[in-house]
Symmetry: D3
Subunit: 300 residues, 6 copies
């Protein structure tokens, strides 16, 4: 029996050019594993990041597989789209454990996990997962906000405290914060003292910051967390806590390219909030960043 007119796999919104990646999808042990973590619990301002992973995949279909800048295409990077994790609404601790398990399993299999968020708190779960297999980890954070509060309205686990928790986890001097332009006075004090804190310079560029961080990290294994709000709300309105005065998409991509020689062992892209997006510009930007990250860090 043949049904030539129907593409059965077409309903699967895997990442860009789906036909290909369903084939790739046959190998759950592929070099790179993409997974969605639709965590959306502690957001204090505008919720909706739970829809991020699905929307990023859906709009990725409008992009090409080929990167002219990297001169490489997705066919060169065997990867597997593991779908979204099943996170019960309102259950923070269970969700973080689930993320930790999934990421640890991938790293244990020798894969590079690329996690699509979801709110920023998921980074805590993912870093825990990486740490099970990778000691001596550095973390590079692209973000508008420091996320260094000790607690937020009394809660230790929050999108506003997540990098404080991560800093505690990986140890002093291991966190690199790039492009920060918002926080409390306390957070800026803590950042200056305890992390490698590179606020967005008024005249400088993100790529320079990334180059400095890359030089400092050296050959150490590194986890990259990218909060989409590092980009100006004019280019990325679909996020929970927009902060005017950010970088352009081009500047951010250049900063990503500046990290291309690092030993990257995990990646996430967080805080894409489709209900706040307009004409999908934020989701499409996120999809392009993920494609470039796959081609940059997955092609070993």
């Amino acid at each position: 029996m043949t049904r030539p007119a129907i593409r059965e796999e077409a309903a699967v919104p895997a990442f860009i050019r789906r036909e290909q990646f369903l084939a790739a999808g046959d190998d759950p042990n592929a070099q790179v594993v993409l997974m969605g973590a639709p965590l959306d619990v502690t957001t204090s301002f505008r919720p909706g990041t739970r829809f991020g992973p699905a929307r990023i995949r859906a709009v990725s279909d409008g992009l090409e597989e080929f990167s002219p800048v990297l001169d490489r295409e997705l066919a060169d990077v065997p990867f597997y789209d593991a779908g979204d994790m099943d996170l019960a609404p309102g259950r923070v601790r269970e969700s973080l454990s689930a993320i930790e398990e999934a990421v640890a399993a991938a790293v244990g299999r020798g894969q590079l996990p690329v996690v699509l968020g979801g709110e920023h708190l998921l980074t805590l779960g993912a870093v825990r997962g990486v740490l099970r297999h990778v000691p001596d980890l550095a973390v590079i954070q692209f973000d508008a906000h420091a996320d260094l509060r000790d607690d937020y309205l009394g809660e230790k686990l929050s999108h506003a405290t997540v990098m404080r928790r991560v800093a505690e986890l990986i140890g002093p001097g291991r966190l690199y914060q790039l492009g920060i332009r918002s926080g409390t006075a306390d957070e800026f004090r803590f950042g200056s003292a305890q992390t490698n804190f590179y606020p967005l310079p008024l005249g400088g560029t993100m790529a320079e910051l990334a180059e400095r961080a890359a030089a400092a990290v050296g050959s150490r294994p590194v986890y990259i967390t990218l909060d989409i709000d590092v980009v100006d709300p004019g280019f990325a309105p679909g996020t929970g806590t927009p902060e005017p005065g950010g970088v352009t998409p081009g500047q951010l991509l250049q900063a990503v390219y500046a990290l291309s020689e690092l030993n990257v062992v995990g990646i996430d892209l967080v805080e894409v909030c489709p209900p706040q997006d307009v004409s999908d510009v934020t989701s499409v930007l996120a999809a392009k960043i993920v494609r470039e990250a796959l081609l940059c860090f997955g092609a070993r």
Copy 2:
């Protein structure tokens, strides 16, 4: 010193015609107390009810204070707008306790609490608060969904289980469910067996259902919970879980009027989700229902 050109109080978006109610606001012991409960944690589909109370107040300014149907105006009902409760994102149990305390305090002072949601789970906290002072309580629910699951993805406290919890709390036969048109087979079985279950009839009207419920409740004290999704999504798109095939705003208002003789001791209006709304039609409808409820049940 006089500054006649500036209405200092104008920034306060109290409910309809603010000048008047800020004056009324001077008396926290007024007959009716309006309070916002921006709970928005367990929503499984489309979040955003946390913005409900603020938006309902903001758009209420486009309505008149006078109800032609009831021939009564807000000036006749002394009420106090207590503002919104401070509920930490992600903390369900603490939030329910806060709602319980606020409602209990109001009832203890002899006031009629009118709670603006927020997700439906808040009704559990509010009913607990009323029960501290009022035994033998009946609850009338206007809703598209039964909300009678025993648990939702393993969680006992959820917008999908709330009326099961309320039913357990007030005891058998005390819950009246009006207009239900969605649920699992289990919920419909439980509803038919354990509650006074009035599904939306294909040919009938909500007002008839309300009249039957009013007759059954009689003089017993009653709490009314109104989930805005009982109205068809064409009129109330701004809600978390839209269910096609609902009633019109006019039919719902008639059903509310049909309860006007009851001994109402608490009211809530829940599940208004402004980020999903279009042109504020859902918020304006909610504001009008609240006005009519105030004039119906607060004017004693």
Copy 3:
């Protein structure tokens, strides 16, 4: 190797409660086969129906599997979601042939095809496919527009001519047009003379029209085509050619139930145009109609 925290299948937006239907999906010979036909070429006013099938599936997740009116649930109807057909943009004839093949294959296997559109022209392809295996076919059309033009700007194949072509195909007196409220004078003349033409009565209901059509069709095999614009734009704004003055969702559902005893051999639901939708109300309505149609006509 186990990865318990990741639901791999979760990325597949099959129709409602996906876990279950991916299991069902294992059997491509299931009793009912759902397929998307994202045809979007001849639309003259507002394009975008190509996104209909994907959006209807996506929002269907907010609905229950159980229908209280029919007292039946999706688990009782084995069905298979075949995904979307691959239709090249701008190629009308090839697309119609692809639809014809897919529908004919399903009918040939003894399945009930349920086609999600896409623009109304797809019905021509689908009816051709059914006719290969089923002689003596009647067609029942729910629609705001007659779609009976002989040509549209010189083109014989168009969303505005489709039912004229279908009428020619199935022969005189075999087309039942329900709820029509818009067309040229010529179309109304043709309809009155050549089809069973039931315009929307000012005071009557769709259910009455459906009952009359059902009585006239009797035991003959019947194909049902449902253009979502039969519903008023207030409830279904997401469509290409909105026509004010339509029926309510409740009235349409009642009309569908009125056909429940017919021998239905094919179904389509067309003209859902997500880019014009607001807060997904049209897509959610379409999803509910599809669920009820599956439970009504697929449960044999």
Copy 4:
């Protein structure tokens, strides 16, 4: 020189099927004259009615010229689209005078003026224009709001006072107000005492109200003013002051048909506010009402 591929006239968004009406447009003395009055000054809540006339014309292209209910088409009604008046922003009195002049000129030429708004205050200018040539005028108003305030924040000329001014102008007992469901207690008292005041009945229909008004008006010349907000915001969200609980488009159209025997000498349709509209449903509804009004009242 021929340029067959270019429809030069196509850029003119005259009302429905433009080719034809540009031809009709050659005769400025046609039986009916359509004119836009984009007045948008005194709106207190949500501005934007200035865009009404242009948007109603633009979307009218999606409608047919033929009315199945009236069995008549636009080709039978010679009319001229005079375009929009040039009204300086912020200048109320000058604008009302301009409207008065334009309407008076049309009536003086024996034409039926059909004015597209714009805010409701324009009715005062239009009625003044009609009164110059037509004594003994009655006015029928379809509206959610009474618009009978004596002043609004001290201002005598406002969308909230317009029908009070009109009532003063045409004399006692000449104003028929249909479907009113909002106003102050004062307005309702004034209405009950001074106008023919037909509030929207909870159980009744607009058509009944219109029939009663038609019987009372008899053969007297009548001006019809239709505020789109008489329709429920679910169907007509694009308006300045949405008032939940209104009629359906079908009910309103039936009410218009109920006036078909009257001696109508002027018509306006006001308060369409495109920036608040969603998916153009309000503008399309307005366009259909205008078409039906042209066919009803212009075909003599």
Copy 5:
């Protein structure tokens, strides 16, 4: 009586971190006074600036109180939010007088008035108010448009003429116009001859323009008026007359910092039009500019 669970003040959308500023609000004589002037009358293109002050306050809650660039926080600047002025729709002259009174009163008390618009015409009222107490005033204008017309459609008071009126008021050579990129040939001629006219250079930056203006102004008292449309519509779509080709938010903020040593005696931020905004990006940007302006100019 205690009601610990309810933050009564929460309903007040004062500017950022409201608890604190309601306390500050107790002192109407604070160093800085924030006031809203929702003037929205003469806008010729897209209205809606009346909603600007309320929306800017509402979204300000998503920002921090601390400015990393200025290393200062709002707690250091005692200020009072006086709410919105009560301006009757359609009454230009009365509204300008009210604004003048409010601003003059603040300046007379030694306060720095910060006015949130509202359309640009309000600057005329505000400058009049400042001039009552401060002679020898300079005005610095950030704007896409020159606003130097002598009249607009015959009207002398308009958003398109406002800076011509201001220039007449403060005297020759006292107006500094920064970043202008739109106007008639006449306006550019007038600007070049009569004002300090610094059009946006193709290759230069706003900060350079601001530095030049700051040097020229010296120690003279200065009023700053900031029309949000100086920013490119990509970052600030929510405005009445978008003009492509503007500056970035970062460039504008740098220009504001370049004025930090000036003797600023009044500030306004105008033309934020929330109904045209998308995902609140314009309002959030305005809120951040106001925060930086408060910290820059209010901390003496």
Copy 6:
């Protein structure tokens, strides 16, 4: 008969300041002819460019006629707005022929045709039209995408293949592609080998690319095609296939100015897709580019 209050021509949305251009419109042989080509057939991702010409004209009314950069105004450039071509939905070849005819007729009359799209495929028709009268033509393309596929899903005529077809038509080395940042590896290979291929440099500017192209083209006649998606989606979200990482509006305008000395014989601006636009920012940007292009290239 005079009707001074009605601007009859006002309904015509000709390009900016309509009164003037209707006068200019009296001369169909004016130096420049503007025409709309609402082709919208082969778009594979997000349709809607058919609405581009009408929306660009409509919003152009918010712009001035004067360009400060060029120090020239529209009154200096006699032009005629020929309206939109009548292109039957779904008929690609007929539409391309119609575009070819219209453009050839204009060029034959010695006019400069400026075509508003519509999808990019229209450029093939327009270039064919120019080639009938102008040999030795060069084409300069501003675009995010190479559009150099040989076929797209088997179709030779598509928005994704259009520049390949154009390159074949005008001969080797005659196509200049500026700012390309997306394509398949094959397209980039073809571009590098067969066209003058100037990808967007990470650090460079569009103006530099345009200067290089201008130098290479020299005095040869040139057709300019401008795909709005060359601009970053943050500034131009209203397009079919948004590609993050583009230029700013200012950078694009500078690149246009860099071509001002060329012998331009035809221009198009394509891929503006209003249904995907937000707050009209893309349409306004397109209108400004068209104005600058008219002033740059039409003023001979």
